[in-house]
Symmetry: C2
Subunit: 360 residues, 2 copies
């Protein structure tokens, strides 16, 4: 097993890197090996506060993390606009890339990153944690069951949170030179991923942004939505915002079944998560109630979804390093598809809510 412990380097000391550091500690097949920050003091403080072992390397630059021959994989939690530079450099140094979402500012940037990973034979995965929760697999089973769920007809997702004044003025997610995609790149990423997930990653044919997107003074989206439509008649819609109470809904309706959950990205609790499913729902005589009623299903997990993410990423990296496997294409493909839809939403907003065709 020692051979399979993947040594992580982390670029920067972002808040989300604290959560992922803990995930690396919990993952069982990865270790916190190095952290680099433009300020070595910040890096030292980060390492001390986030469970790095005494032997961990603390660097005063990102480059030193990349140049350390013992680093197997690099977690990139930098602002979106820096991903293209740093993710590509990581790949060129033959280190595997775990990259925060959104992966790039547009699909062109994502393609540059994914190309760099592919040509250097390294694994790419984005930081969409909920994909790795066992609840997600359980829900996938339900959606894939022709007897229980049937054919998918519609999906609705919503991810909003009420950012405070400090966030709305200072967070990187409202800055055009940092996370320039704003709410669409941050919370909208999950809404889009949730829809694509429910559609088994079949891309929609076209996307139309909904009216009333909200921009901040710098022109960054802080609230928006879109409707998506597929060739076969499926439809979806989502709403994402920094201006409303924390809400995290996914509803998928098929010809035979319905899936509901209100915490699809971050489960209400860390070790257990639920979803509600309904199959061939109907009414009682005289429509005085439902028969059968929807039912709740709970899925337990020993380690949290972000640790399962690190574990799966590290398993793939170990397999490449030790067994000569090829990188798993599923993960970069999902990042790219999510970005394609995100680009289309942005383009539709820019074109005054015109329909934008998705070309993959």
């Amino acid at each position: 097993m020692a051979n399979y412990t993947i040594r992580f380097g982390i670029l920067g000391c972002a808040d989300i890197a604290r959560k992922v550091s803990r995930a690396i500690l919990l993952s069982q097949n990865a270790t916190l090996y190095a952290v680099g920050s433009r300020s070595i003091d910040k890096a030292r403080k980060f390492a001390a506060e986030n469970g790095f072992p005494a032997t961990a390397k603390v660097y005063g630059s990102y480059e030193e993390v990349l140049d350390d021959p013992n680093v197997d994989a690099v977690y990139v939690p930098l602002p979106t606009c820096l991903h293209i530079k740093w993710a590509v450099l990581v790949a060129q140094k033959k280190k595997h890339v775990l990259c925060e979402k959104p992966v790039g500012l547009n699909v062109k940037e994502v393609d540059v990153i994914l190309e760099a990973c592919e040509s250097n034979g390294v694994q790419f995965m984005d930081g969409t944690m909920w994909m790795h929760h066992p609840r997600t697999a359980k829900m996938r089973e339900f959606l894939s069951d022709p007897q229980q769920f049937g054919e998918l007809k519609t999906v609705n997702t919503c991810f909003t949170f009420a950012a405070d004044r400090n966030f709305l003025e200072n967070d990187i997610r409202v800055k055009p030179d940092l996370d320039a995609l704003g709410a669409l790149g941050d919370v909208g990423w999950y809404c889009i991923r949730g829809i694509l997930w429910a559609a088994d990653f079949e891309l929609p044919k076209s996307v139309i942004a909904l009216r009333n997107p909200v921009f901040n003074k710098a022109g960054v989206i802080i609230s928006c939505g879109a409707s998506l439509s597929w060739e076969d008649g499926k439809v979806a819609s989502f709403h994402c915002s920094f201006l409303s109470n924390l809400t995290m809904d996914l509803t998928a309706v098929g010809t035979k079944g319905t899936l509901h959950l209100h915490d699809f990205i971050i489960p209400f609790e860390e070790k257990k998560a639920s979803f509600v499913s309904a199959v061939e729902s109907g009414f009682k005589e005289l429509v005085t109630g439902w028969e059968p009623k929807p039912s709740e299903h709970t899925v337990m997990t020993d380690i949290p979804q972000e640790a399962l993410m690190v574990k799966e990423f590290s398993r793939l990296v170990a397999s490449i390093k030790n067994e000569g496997s090829k990188p798993e294409k599923k993960w970069p493909t999902l990042s790219r598809k999510t970005t394609l839809v995100l680009d289309a939403v942005k383009a539709s907003i820019e074109k005054g809510f015109e329909a934008v065709e998705i070309v993959s």
Copy 2:
């Protein structure tokens, strides 16, 4: 109290009239007085099977119900295309009108009906039962609370059911000469009413139908959706369909709170109904869970929502008859607003998904 018992006449023997007959029996201030059908045998059978007292009048025509001087109020569960004729005749006979939804094929028809009611001094109410559930009042309190819910930002509603082959071929709701509005008039009515209710009945500025509406061979809508937008930035969307598993969602998100329910039109159970609310939701340290979590609230009701509807309608009628009150304008106003939005959705579909402005 005897003076206040409103004598109902029912036109036709529609399925929904069975439910409303029971509601009249349960209402405590109304009584089943007469039923008329083009077939007197059907009327007799209906009266016998639906708890009409032995003294009830059974007529072989609708006209006879209208001509019976003892009938105070008439319930009109006829196909939508017949509402304008019969609801107007009922009003002209100075009888109060409880009319199934959708009220008319368009707002022009609705205005003719409402005008007839107003000029004849009779109460009008449509048959949107969930408006009368005490849960609805409780949820309204929540949405109106600036500390708990704040300012409404977005609403999403969904009402679908999986119609069987017989329904899709023979039900009045798929026939262009009967309920010509199809799924939009039937299930879409509730989606629109739910959105307007959450918006405290402020009409949206514009409506855009979503792509991929489905029509049957006769050109009747059997699945569609729309997005709505308000001057102040609020947005909403809905999806309605006869082609997906029974689903009945309403989600309203405000700056401070969130409201969720999955049975907003027909509660899962008749005597108790729940909703989930969340106030100033946030995350635990490291975003490993929610704090506080949403909470469920249960509201009990002695008599079902449709009986509460009849009770409220009959209370208003009694007040007009016995105290000389004016008809309550709230109910016709809500019917009209719902129809205005419905018309805009239909117009947007017809115009190839253009934005349609709402002019009230």
